[in-house]
Structure formats: C-alpha cells, structure tokens
Symmetry: C2
DNA sequence: ATAATAGTGTCTCTTAGACAATATTTC
DNA sequence: GAAATATTGTCTAAGAGACACTATTAT
C-alpha cells in the first residue's frame, strides 16, 4: 500500500445574523457547475498548507468581507456522503459563524452574488449539495448554544442593551420572552454582561443601560428555551 | 484549475466504556510508522465509496469486534492541522463510540494489540498524533451528553438496574451522586427508563428492579452534573 | 443480629415564570 | 396626557439536594 485514497476537502460556512426581525443566513449564487445558478452556502476548497479553521476564516473574509474579530466561528460537523459532490469525492467540514448585523454590503470575490436570506424562507431543495442539512444542523446548533453559552452576544454590536439582546433570543428561538424576567436573569448571570456605565440609546422609551459581553464562556444557570417540555402526562403510554 | 488539492481522510475512534470502576478508552499499539510502537486511538483511512459513518462502523468492527447494534456511535469533530500526520496531508473525522462492558476480548485484525485503558491514566503525550486532544474532546462530549441525553444507557447492558446506571454517572463524572435523589429523578424522567417487570439481580442487598432504555432522545429536565456552579458570590476573581 | 443495596417520603432552599408597579423617554 | 420601553419587586409553583425512614436480601 503506497497511496492513500484521495479526497478533496472543503469548508462550508453557515453564517448567521439577525436582521430585520429574522434569523438570516448568508447564501451565494453559484457561478459554476455543479449546481450553477443555484443558491448554496459559501465555502471552498481547503488549501494544502492550511488548517481547517484558517480555511474557514479565509473563505469568510473572501465571501463576506467580514472582519475577523467581529465574527464568532466554530466547527460544526463534517459531511462526507460519497455522492454529495458530482465532481469528485469531497468531504466538507462545515463551520458555523455568527455575526452582528453589519451595514456591510456583501462584496463577493468568489461568488456571483451573496445575500442574507431568512432561514425560514428556505425549504428543502432550495440549496445546492446537501446544504439544506448543513443549514439545519447549524441553526439547531445556534439555537441550542444560546441556552448555555453567551453566544447571543455575537449577534450584537460591541455595546448593546438588554432589550436588544432579548430580541436576539426571541428571533433565534422564535418565541416571546418576558422582558422583565429576561432582564433579571441576564444581568444576574455571572460574567455574561458587563455594564459600560453609559445609558443613552433609544429605541422607543426610557433609555437603557449599555452592556458589553462579559468574560463568561458558559451561562450558569442556563437560559431556558420555552416550549421544550411535554404537556405533563403522556410520554409513557404513547408511541 | 483542473485538480483539487488532494487529502487523505481518516476516521479515528474514541471508544469509551465503563470497566472496573473507571472510564476506559480503547487504544491500540501502532505496528507501523509513524509512531510505531506508540499507543493511539483506533482508526483508519476512509475507503473511496464509503460514507464517514460507514467507515467508522467498519473500523469499529475491525478493531474491536463490537457488534453494531450494541454500540452508540456519533461524529465528534474533525482535525486537520497541516502537520498532524507526517506521511501526507490528513484530515481525520473523529467519532465517539460508547459501549457496555462486554466480556469481549479485543480481537485486533488491524492493530497489534488493543486494550482498555483508564482515561485518567493517560497524560499529555501518551498518544500518537493529536490523539490526546481527540480523546479529551471525546470525554468532554460524553460527560456533557450524560446530562441531557439518555446516553448513559449505552454503557449498560440491555437490562440494568438504577444502581448500575447511577454508577455509570458517578464514574464518568467522577462525582458521587445521592442514590435516593438519583433514583427518583431517573425513574421520573419521561421516556428515560422502561420497567421490565423483572426484579431479581443481585449486587449485594435487596433485589433491584430491572429497566431497559426508554424511547426518549433527550432528558427533560436534565440531570445536573455536580460542582459546575461557583461558590456563590465571586465569578470575577476566579479563573 | 449486621451490612449492604433498593426504594419512598419529607423538608428546605433556589429558581422559573407570571405579573404588578414604577421610571423615563417620545409623541 | 397616551404609548413605548426599561427596571425593580413580589408571588407561586416546581425542582434540586439533604436526609430520615422502610424494605429485602446475604452473611
């Protein structure tokens, strides 16, 4: 045995932001075959000398122009069905990126057109390759991580109010949260929020205090997503 | 641009079991370079027509002889540092497998010797490649998942007692749990445990009721791992 | 009897969620 | 003034953890 089976390795990006009261994902329109003209998640081949995360950051910069420091990036999972790309055998290492709603117009070097699309507007079959599944996994990861990590702040500008943070939660989870309970919990969770001292800022009523994200890497106790328990009584007998 | 950069893709396995009051991982002794004679996680190259999970299951069978149905298998994450394998550029898709303590002697087809080793006995540098990191990530995933998923049952035989299940939690978490509170919570969590009706089985005192795993895929509410909150008052100073 | 494990009940303290009340702004 | 958002406080119900107590086996 001299040679190893040869694969191509790509990174695909699920880039999420909160925009116009909707959770949006960055999609590009493919210029080349396969799936030319179809929408897809941004991504590309990993270069020979490049780490997986480096490749993801490079693609992120190329396709979105998003500055490095403002975006949260983590590996999601890998997809390697033998027929997922008709060109050759490809294993894709998907990454999840969370960005604030920047005024950045998407300058695509690689892609014909990049656009923010509400995730709810995308149905099965709307994205090329197996990107429907990748997107679904990425959104679910983001929803889950808001519970026990301070990641919701990645959707916010450097300084933000509790109300803005709550709106992020409501939009990502698709559920209304009580503003008063949320305020108490968010500010009480150690390391989650750091007061800036400033308070002006308006989106309607009384000025709110401005916070920046604190040093915590986990939320203890977690914020709980509504509607995840069963209506009291029937898990046993059913099926 | 005609060709894509060429990579080799492997699957590596973090196979965990609970054995002799310790959380153990399956390691093999490498017969070939690189790292010949060193211990490593089992794994191997993905075949050209093979899905990632198929490859993981194949390696699991080859290296451990573990029957397919008895083992929980899930993808962990991928590792792709450019220099992680001196032979060629390799991306490894690590998988996590949880197995009950089978009386199976490890029949290694591929590996010189396979052995169960307590994870606590392995320090940095004891495993080849970047397998220290892979193992650490796998153990942490397992510990975390016991909280909110019924995965602890994957460490148990098909029928087990609440006490056996509790011992799994205690060993994996490395913390003592109150038997009475654990019993109440485990049996009250909907879909977690299914009574078999049988009750004999002895490991000392009064016979215990036998259960099998229920249909639940998540534990609501979760079982909470002790010692994860700060001692009331100081998050700032601590590390 | 003692030792060991299994299982139930009870108590207290904390937390989640509902929601009243107040504060500070714009219109 | 009304309307909107921010922030604090209070109440209640549910869950976590401590732990007394009973049950059933082996020795």
């Amino acid at each position: 045995m001299s040679a190893f089976p040869s694969f191509a390795v790509t990174v695909d990006l699920v880039v999420l932001t909160v925009r116009d009261d909707a959770l949006c994902v960055l999609v590009v329109e493919r210029g080349e075959a396969p799936y030319a003209g179809r929408r897809a998640l941004p991504g590309g081949f990993v270069h020979p000398g490049e780490d997986l995360e480096q490749a993801a950051r490079r693609e992120l910069a190329e396709e979105t122009g998003l500055a490095d420091g403002t975006v949260h990036l983590e590996q999601l999972r890998s997809y390697g069905a033998p027929d997922r790309d008709p060109r050759t055998r490809v294993v894709s290492v998907a990454h999840l990126a969370l960005a604030p709603d920047l005024p950045t117009p998407q300058a695509g070097t690689d892609a014909a057109a990049a656009a923010w699309v509400p995730v709810d507007s995308l149905g099965p079959g709307d994205l090329a390759f197996d990107h429907d599944e990748v997107l679904r996994d990425g959104v679910e990861r983001a929803r889950a991580k808001l519970e026990y990590s301070p990641l919701a702040t990645a959707f916010c500008p450097p300084e933000f109010t509790v109300g803005e943070l709550r709106r992020v939660y409501e939009i990502v989870w698709g559920a209304a949260l009580d503003p008063r309970n949320f305020h108490r919990k968010a500010t009480a969770t150690p390391g989650f929020l750091e007061a800036t001292g400033e308070r002006t800022n308006r989106q309607g009523g009384r000025p709110a205090e401005l916070f920046r994200r604190g040093p915590a890497t986990a939320l203890l106790p977690p914020l709980s997503r509504p509607g995840r328990s069963e209506p009291a009584g029937g898990t046993s007998a059913s099926t």
